[in-house]
Structure formats: C-alpha cells, structure tokens
C-alpha cells in the first residue's frame, strides 16, 4: 500500500479511537442520563465515522469498501433512532432532566 495512504489511515483510525475513548469518559463524567447520551453520541458519530474512514482508506476501492460504506449508511440511520427511543422512553417514565448551568441536582 501507498505510504501516504498508510499514514492517512493510521491518522484517521487514531483520531477515531481517541474520540471513542473521550465519548466513553464523557458517559462517566456527565451528571444525568440525557447529558450522558450526548457524550455517547460522540462515540456514535465522530468516532464511528473516523474509524470507518480509516478502514476505507485501508481497503481501497473494492467490494470490501462497499461493505464498509453500507455499514456507515445503516449506522447513520439506526443510531439516532435508538438514541431517540432511549430519550423518549426516559422522558415518558418521568425521568426529569437536570437543567441549567453546571446541571446541579
């Protein structure tokens, strides 16, 4: 593989991994369910897209890269629906979000 492509995919994969870890840290640091979901969506979107982009560079133009694109496509459609279902269910159950600066108790 081309050296430039190798380093590009290395860069994309590391950046995606970093975002996924930061999203994971965020789900622990945030104060309540709704704010934790925002942190998780960093892993869901930014982390996922960057890792997939890195893998796409690795795969080059082939049947494998089409499969990767298909995964990205379906994840981008299903993950917001799952997030919405979770948030709606929590609100429906009467789980009140903490609002305001600092999101105190």
């Amino acid at each position: 593989m081309d050296v430039a492509a190798y380093y590009l995919s290395w860069l994309l994969l590391s950046a995606g991994g970093l975002l996924a870890v930061i999203g994971g840290i965020g789900t622990f640091r945030m104060p309540d369910l709704y704010t934790r979901m925002h942190a998780a969506s960093v892993t869901d979107t930014g982390g996922m897209l960057l890792i997939m982009a890195g893998l796409l560079v690795q795969a080059g133009l082939s049947l494998v890269s089409f499969k990767l694109l298909l995964i990205v496509f379906f994840l981008l459609f299903t993950s917001p629906v799952a997030t919405h279902a979770l948030a709606r269910a929590a609100l429906h159950e009467g789980h009140k979000p903490r609002l305001g600066p600092g999101a105190g108790p």
């Binding site: 840290i25 709704y34 925002h38 979107t45 919405h84 609100l91």
Partner: protein, 163 residues
C-alpha cells in the same frame, strides 16, 4: 411502478456488490430473491415514495455533506465540554417549531438533530420537536433554524425538479 423498479434495482445492486460470486446459479438465485422481496413489499404496501424517495436522491448528497460538517463541529464542541467536566455544560430543553408535516421530512429533521452530538430529539409532535441540548448555545443554534431551512429547501427543489 417506478418505485418497484427502483427497489428491485437497489436490491440487485446490493446483492451483486455483497456476493462477489458471479456464476449463473448464484446470480440467478439473487435475481429470484430480489423479485421475491419486491413481491412481498408490494403485498405489504411498503413500496411507495416514502420507502424509495426517488425525488430526493439528487438533493440528499449535498445535505449530507452539510450535515457531516455540522457533525464535525458539534463533535468538537461536545469533546471540549466533556474535558471541561460537568461545570462546563448547561443543559436545556427546548421546543423547536416544525412547519413540515410529512413524516419523511419530520424523520429527516429529528434524526439530523439527534445525529449532531449535543442535541437529542426527545419527542416529535405534529408541529414541534422537543430537543434536549447539552448547552443553551446549541439550543439557540437550532432555534435559529438553519437545519430546518436546508431541509425545506431540499424538499422544495425536489418538488420542482420532479415536475
């Protein structure tokens, strides 16, 4: 009819690109199963402008490009808030007006809101979407309606183009 043809073409494309085996038997089985799925879809009444949004296809890539940029920007913003810790956020719950009643466009809007980190649509109603935002600036951005305007623009131009 054109929706059935489009569904068939899409299914066949996915089959051909996923299988990678181009013998007569395998491709024939693929054709057969695509036809079967089309027939089932027709019987269930699923093949319509909503499941095959043909008019949108030429407009969607431009919107997706813009959405990707928005996702990148809000990703960075949420990352700085995570590093800043709970002191750096000010969650708020806002109602964003929706002037578009079609299920397809409401779904596009609500999903786009959820896809950009920092905002999650928690309830979709007839003319508003309730949004939980990680900080009030994100909520204000949404209330200014840039995303809504782009979706409406996409809808209008697709209706013009289809004639």
């Amino acid at each position: 009819m054109k929706y059935t043809a489009s569904l068939f073409a899409n299914l066949l494309l996915v089959w051909l690109l996923l299988s990678g085996h181009y013998t007569v038997l395998i491709t024939g089985l693929g054709l057969l199963s695509c036809a079967l799925v089309c027939w089932l879809g027709l019987r269930m009444g699923l093949v319509d402008a909503e499941s095959q949004p043909l008019r949108l296809i030429t407009r969607l890539p431009l919107y997706w490009l813009w959405l990707t940029r928005e996702m990148a920007r809000s990703n960075l913003r949420v990352v700085t808030r995570i590093i800043g810790g709970p002191g750096a956020i000010s969650p708020s719950l806002v109602s964003v007006p929706v002037s578009e009643k079609t299920a397809l466009y409401q779904a596009i809007y609500a999903n786009s809101i959820t896809l950009t980190p920092g905002t999650v649509s928690v309830r979709v109603q007839a003319d508003t979407i309730d949004v939980h935002a990680l900080e009030d600036t994100a909520a204000e951005d949404l209330e200014q309606g840039e995303m809504h305007r782009r979706i409406l623009q996409m809808k209008r131009s697709s209706e013009r183009g289809a004639g």
